[in-house]
């Protein structure tokens, strides 16, 4: 029998290890505290406007002229929503079509090339999309709601397509094998079996596309003309909430500045709500 002197394993862990766990947990708390910090500062900064102006005047004032004490945000809220929904309406068929192309129609080589293209496009900065649209689209479409919708739909298309593609990939192979065994054609199989089973993933893709669209700043700032008004047609210039913040932060003071933080709070609320719904949907299985 060999007797080796080992420290008893039941003793308390080395001091360094205790410190390690403590430090790691502290870092995690710091990282997760940032979102709280953001919320606190948005609330702090928007408190003067919420008290001094009051919530109702953001709807009921005659116009948005913050320098002469008029704070109606509704034209900009409307513009943000109009651009977002216009963009998602265009991005849904194109994005899901792209995902179907990658998964079920394209030969494997072409599919991975196309996917690489989409990934590349998802990484292009919004200011570059905005610049291209300013040079190419605006001379034709003029600075307008329509120009904003077109460029924004292009920007969120990769997001929608890639998430939809990933959720189609989650569908168990038996589903497509089964439908093939039943003699279904490719499209009947997609429409009848695969799209319904990927329903939640597709809704998630759309919601995350919406979240990206509503928070988007630079491209809409560059192509929409930035006139605060309710657009009467697609060719009218508009200003979104995000563009308004970017335009006015540099000179805003007091209540005006505070009102901009209120719009920031509103944006954050909207986006967080969309993402929360998306995550709630995809928490369970992404198919079925």
């Amino acid at each position: 029998m060999f007797m080796t002197s080992l420290r008893p394993t039941t003793s308390s862990p080395p001091r360094a290890d205790v410190f390690l766990v403590f430090a790691l947990r502290a870092l995690a708390v710091v990282a997760s505290g940032i979102v709280l910090l953001i919320l606190v500062f948005l609330l702090l900064e928007s408190a003067p406007a919420l008290e001094g102006i009051g919530l109702t005047r953001f709807f009921s004032d005659a116009s948005w002229h913050p320098l002469s004490d008029r704070f109606n945000m509704m034209p900009m809220v409307f513009a943000s929503l109009a651009i977002t929904f216009g963009a998602i309406l265009a991005a849904i068929p194109l994005g899901i079509g792209s995902a179907l192309f990658c998964r079920y129609y394209a030969p494997p080589k072409l599919a991975s090339l196309y996917r690489a293209l989409l990934q590349l496009l998802a990484g292009i900065p919004s200011v570059v999309y905005g610049f291209w649209a300013l040079v190419v689209l605006v001379p034709v479409l003029f600075p307008s709601l329509l120009a904003g919708i077109v460029i924004l739909s292009l920007m969120i298309l990769p997001t929608v397509a890639l998430i939809a593609d990933a959720s189609l990939a989650q569908i168990p192979l038996e589903y497509s094998h089964g439908s093939a065994a039943l003699g279904l054609g490719r499209w009947s199989m997609i429409r009848g079996v695969l799209l319904p089973s990927a329903r939640r993933g597709l809704v998630t893709a759309i919601l995350l596309g919406l979240a990206r669209a509503i928070g988007e700043t630079m491209a809409v700032l560059m192509v929409c003309g930035n006139v605060v008004q309710f657009p009467k047609s697609l060719t009218d210039p508009v200003r979104t909430l995000t563009a308004n913040i970017a335009l006015e932060m540099s000179y805003a003071g007091d209540l005006h500045r505070s009102a901009l933080f209120v719009s920031g709070l509103l944006l954050m609320g909207l986006v967080v709500l969309l993402v929360a719904i998306a995550e709630g949907l995809s928490r369970g299985k992404i198919y079925a």
């Binding site: 420290r7 766990v21 990282a31 990484g123 200011v127 570059v128 610049f131 932060m249």
Partner: protein
């Protein structure tokens, strides 16, 4: 049971076939349309930029509000902003990822809270980060318009992306490594630094590359934090103009600035492409290997 006649059968089959053909046509048309539009954008940007791109463009200061000259100080400021961002994001991110992967199980309440709040953080729009950065880093901490303030704002933005990638990397380290280390009596601290971090290195570098890409692409969060000044920054407390802000400024506020905006956009795109390619390379050569072991 009434059998469908053979004529009916063939009618059904024909209608099905027409639908199939139409769907195939539509899907291919969508893919073609999307590719064409995007190649149009990429080729436009390339041709617009390559005419004005030269070595001196990278090494000269901008003149005449950026219409002429190069982007040297802007490149330096961009790199400094990204460096500050990643220097802050890396330690916090790695620490959080290790804690989430190794110590906070799925049942841990604090762990779930941390994950949830990182998910929310990942979805905050960039302009809101700009508002926060200007209120917190610039005013509250008194950093003013500075590279430091811009970098710190971006660090907040990049953290959730980095942590998600890094955590997956630590989770993919085979359990046998930890058990082996424990049975040899190696302390958890040494296990972390000698075994876990080296094994998760591909995932960490992938997260790093993703974060740098995100930081380089950002504009809206930087306008009110690192500012507009296009001089060569002398310290981290100087204001510095990032490449994306430069593109925005040339396109919107400087008539006749389009040529140099194109060239700057091309430089930015090439940098991002390089980053994208290295990410693809890392994940192809290392990540799948690590995942297959687990």
């Amino acid at each position: 049971m009434p059998e469908p006649s053979s004529i009916q059968k063939s009618a059904i089959r024909k209608r099905g076939q027409v639908g199939e053909r139409l769907a195939t046509l539509c899907v291919w048309a969508v893919a073609l349309l999307v590719s064409l539009v995007f190649f149009w954008i990429l080729i436009d940007l390339f041709l617009g930029g390559v005419r004005h791109l030269s070595l001196s463009f990278l090494f000269e200061a901008p003149r005449d509000a950026g219409r002429a000259g190069g982007i040297a100080p802007i490149l330096v400021a961009s790199l400094e902003i990204v460096a500050v961002c990643m220097l802050v994001a890396l330690p916090i991110g790695i620490g959080t990822a290790v804690w989430l992967a190794e110590y906070a199980g799925d049942r841990n309440r604090l762990g779930r809270l941390v994950r949830r709040s990182l998910d929310v953080l990942a979805s905050v729009p960039s302009i809101v980060f700009g508002l926060f950065g200007s209120a917190f880093f610039c005013l509250q901490l008194g950093l003013g318009f500075s590279i430091l303030a811009g970098g710190l704002t971006l660090a907040c933005m990049v953290l959730p992306i980095f942590i998600r990638t890094a955590e997956e990397g630590f989770r993919a380290v085979p359990q046998a490594y930890r058990l082996g280390a424990a049975s040899l009596g190696i302390s958890r601290t040494s296990t972390l630094f000698r075994i876990l971090i080296p094994s998760a290195l591909p995932a960490l570098s992938a997260g790093f590359v993703l974060g740098v890409g995100r930081a380089l692409a950002e504009t809206a969060a930087l306008i009110f934090t690192s500012g507009y000044v296009s001089r060569m920054p002398e310290s981290l407390l100087d204001s510095g103009r990032a490449m994306s802000v430069h593109i925005y400024d040339l396109a919107m506020n400087v008539p006749g600035g389009n040529d140099n905006a194109f060239a700057t956009a091309l430089v930015l795109l090439l940098l991002l492409l390089l980053i994208n390619a290295s990410f693809a390379w890392i994940s192809q050569h290392h990540l799948s290997h690590g995942a297959s072991q687990s």
